[in-house]
Subunit: 453 residues, 2 copies
């Protein structure tokens, strides 16, 4: 039998797992609420209690929820880092610079870390995981992507025997909420954004949500886990949803589609020459037309969903709350339990943080965005003069973009010319649109949205 | 730091994980195919190769797929059990009696076991897990429920910090395929069953699929994991889908519902007296009306899905292939990888097989089926004579069952009287139906289907 000598198991005495919490905003408070309400059932699973020892905040004197033990609050992060009794540091303060310093310091001191910080992981994940592996400590981050949906754990462990072919996710709840409202109510982008803010789904500054930046961070993390490759946010061509109009939603519907904010990662064969089939990664964050009867089309409101296609598994979908204090806290504390199990049995580093062992991570070339092939939804606003449709069709044809369906909408000038193309190369579509925008009687830059199946 | 002394980690030399396979039918062959095609990526994750040492079959001379290494085949299970080099026994032979003997023998010899055998687990799981815990070996069974969907791992680990409030699943692909065909094509139950058999979704003897027996086994396993309670198949009131007619599907649609084969497990407050609120389990397997726009209504064909409601998480859905050689093999091999990680690091028993530690498992009383409250779809066939509707309505009213909607369908006698009730107690509905069946002009026993939200 392999390595079956009993590890340092902690008998029947319920030794506690000692936690230092950095950050006590919405998620931190959710963690404290969960730990209070579920203490018994967690101990029945883990065999030991979870014990919050210190809580570091920016302002220890401000008003707090009643679940926050005020005697543990402090602004002294150094004291937490120096406390040799703390086993796990939980980082939910957010931001990149200071959070990165603290996580690094914790790992360097041999403490395990659980974080919900997607921006930190997307930007410094490689460095932090390498440090954690060097120190033989765990770095877990289930809550960083898609809130309460256990997508990290599924990619890392449930699909450990499979190979991911493609992954398509709705991973930004704010964007999904906005497009869903535009779909159901016919709202403009601006009105739907205000509704999202009023409903608490969007931040006062929603930039990173609506411009795709947040989804880009999450996709970089997911693609790393799915393909065992180093993926940086800068590898991901990213478009936001700000340019989508109520008209686009309506026109897409006429073609049988719904517009959803997608993050896509696929393995494709880079056919540089017929003999040389090398694998590339197709990575994209952008709004896309998805068929009305597809699973992703049916994901409503601020809900997140990830559609995974495994080589052996086939298609599989996980959906659920992608944000919110309690779902996010749930994921954080399940990570704490996982790290706690490793602590009790001496099994730190049991599963590689990025699914694959650090020395086996690959660098897979990224497909040039221009090489991507898909159908496209195109809309351009024109003065309704003779010859304009022919001129547009002519430009598309010359650029090898063929039209599947086309209609003209509106009676006042300008009118919308709306097209669904057959599959075309993105580079050709871009070139055609540049020429179309320069045509006489075309009054504004064309809208182009990819179709994703 | 707690228990951080390095466990028996196996350096950088890739020590192999040695496996004995019992059974080499569709799933066993799928496992061998997966191990051949994904050997490299599995080793990049696990840090060691998976090595099949012996394969035990009933007939070693019969024709096999080319992925089966014929030199490993044998009919000698005892030799496999006695082989001290085998770390993990993988049982995919099916059946309860002989499979149970072999799994028990493997556990007694200190071997870890991975099985896809839901009937075995549902009937002998308590005994087998207790044995595994006593011998400090792992017993994993992801593939036993919902094929490729990682529902066991999600309940056991991803939701380790949460408490499940309710769980509703479509966990029998054959039944879902049949009802989906009846829905989309208007087929009769018999025709849809024949189609399912022709398409390879139903066995030659489909009894356990269509009568709910298979779903009952799976629900007993899921409920045990979700609630940390001992649940036996005999605890689950179970009804099949055989009595559903094309008419029922059509009438349900008029009320805005789809009929789906559900397995339900909920925690309910047993209100024996206003002061004594004790928790009970509401367990049921039966076809049910679900709203047309609900997630479960949209799960097509032979796909499985589980809707989980967590106290902190809220609603979450997992869907994917519930059967098939490769999805099932994927789950089995991911379990092997998990056990392999424990072997390499000496962390056996790291996660309790049933999510909760054996000594913390509860016995939660089961709610009497008669106490269940829901809306009901009722259909009865009557001769269209004056007074028959009034008589039916009268019986329902006397039994405290009030009607929300009602219509009569058909011109030839007998005609269908179809009703949707307000929420009613199951005991009252049962009593009313007995009296309705005895009425003059009622020509056959009434159909009653629960509505599940």
């Amino acid at each position: 039998m392999v390595g079956c000598a009993g590890a340092a198991r902690v008998g029947d005495v319920a030794q506690s797992i000692r936690i230092g919490l950095i950050g006590c905003g919405v998620v931190g408070t959710g963690i404290l609420r969960l730990l209070r309400d579920h203490a018994g059932s967690i101990e029945s699973r883990l065999g030991a209690p979870l014990d919050i020892r210190r809580i570091v905040v920016r302002d220890a004197s401000s008003a707090r929820d009643e679940v926050v033990p005020r005697n543990l609050l402090s602004t002294d992060a150094q004291a937490l880092l120096d406390d040799s009794e703390i086993d796990i540091v939980v980082e939910v303060m957010g931001g990149v610079s200071r959070a990165g310093e603290l996580v690094r310091a914790a790992l360097e001191r041999g403490k395990h870390v659980v974080t919900a910080n997607k921006a930190l992981l997307a930007e410094q994940g490689d460095e932090l995981v390498t440090l954690a592996e060097a120190r033989s400590v765990d770095l877990y981050f289930e809550a960083a992507v898609a809130g309460g949906i256990p997508i990290i754990r599924v990619l890392r462990e449930a699909l450990a025997s499979d190979q991911v072919v493609a992954l398509r996710g709705i991973v930004n709840g704010t964007s999904n909420y906005i497009l869903s409202r535009m779909q159901s109510e016919g709202s403009s982008f601006e009105d739907a954004l205000r509704e999202a803010q009023a409903a608490g789904y969007a931040e006062a500054d929603p930039t990173l949500d609506v411009n795709g930046g947040d989804a880009c961070h999450k996709l970089a993390i997911l693609a790393t886990l799915a393909f065992g490759a180093r993926v940086q946010p800068t590898d991901v061509p990213t478009e936001g949803i700000e340019s989508i109009t109520a008209g686009d939603i309506e026109f897409a519907k006429r073609f049988g589609f719904v517009i959803k904010p997608l993050a896509v990662a696929r393995q494709v064969l880079g056919a540089s020459s017929p003999e040389q089939h090398s694998t590339k990664l197709d990575l994209r964050v952008h709004p896309a037309l998805v068929p009305q009867d597809s699973v992703l089309a049916s994901i409503p409101g601020a809900i997140n969903a990830v559609h995974i296609e495994g080589a052996m598994l086939g298609p599989c979908v996980l959906s659920g709350p992608g944000a919110g204090a309690l779902p996010t806290a749930m994921s954080v504390v399940s990570d704490i339990v996982d790290v706690g199990r490793n602590l009790l049995i001496g099994a730190h580093g049991r599963v590689p943080s990025r699914a694959f062992r650090g020395d086996r991570l690959k660098t897979i070339p990224i497909q040039d965005a221009g090489d991507h092939r898909s159908r496209f939804y195109l809309r351009t606003m024109v003065r309704d003069e003779p010859g304009v449709l022919a001129a547009i069709a002519n430009v598309l044809g010359k650029n090898h973009v063929s039209i599947e369906q086309m209609f003209q909408d509106g009676s006042d000038t300008p009118v919308a010319v709306v097209m669904l193309t057959h599959e075309a190369r993105e580079r050709d579509v871009t070139a055609a649109l540049k020429q179309i925008d320069a045509l006489a009687n075309v009054v504004s830059a064309a809208q182009a949205i990819r179709v994703e199946h």
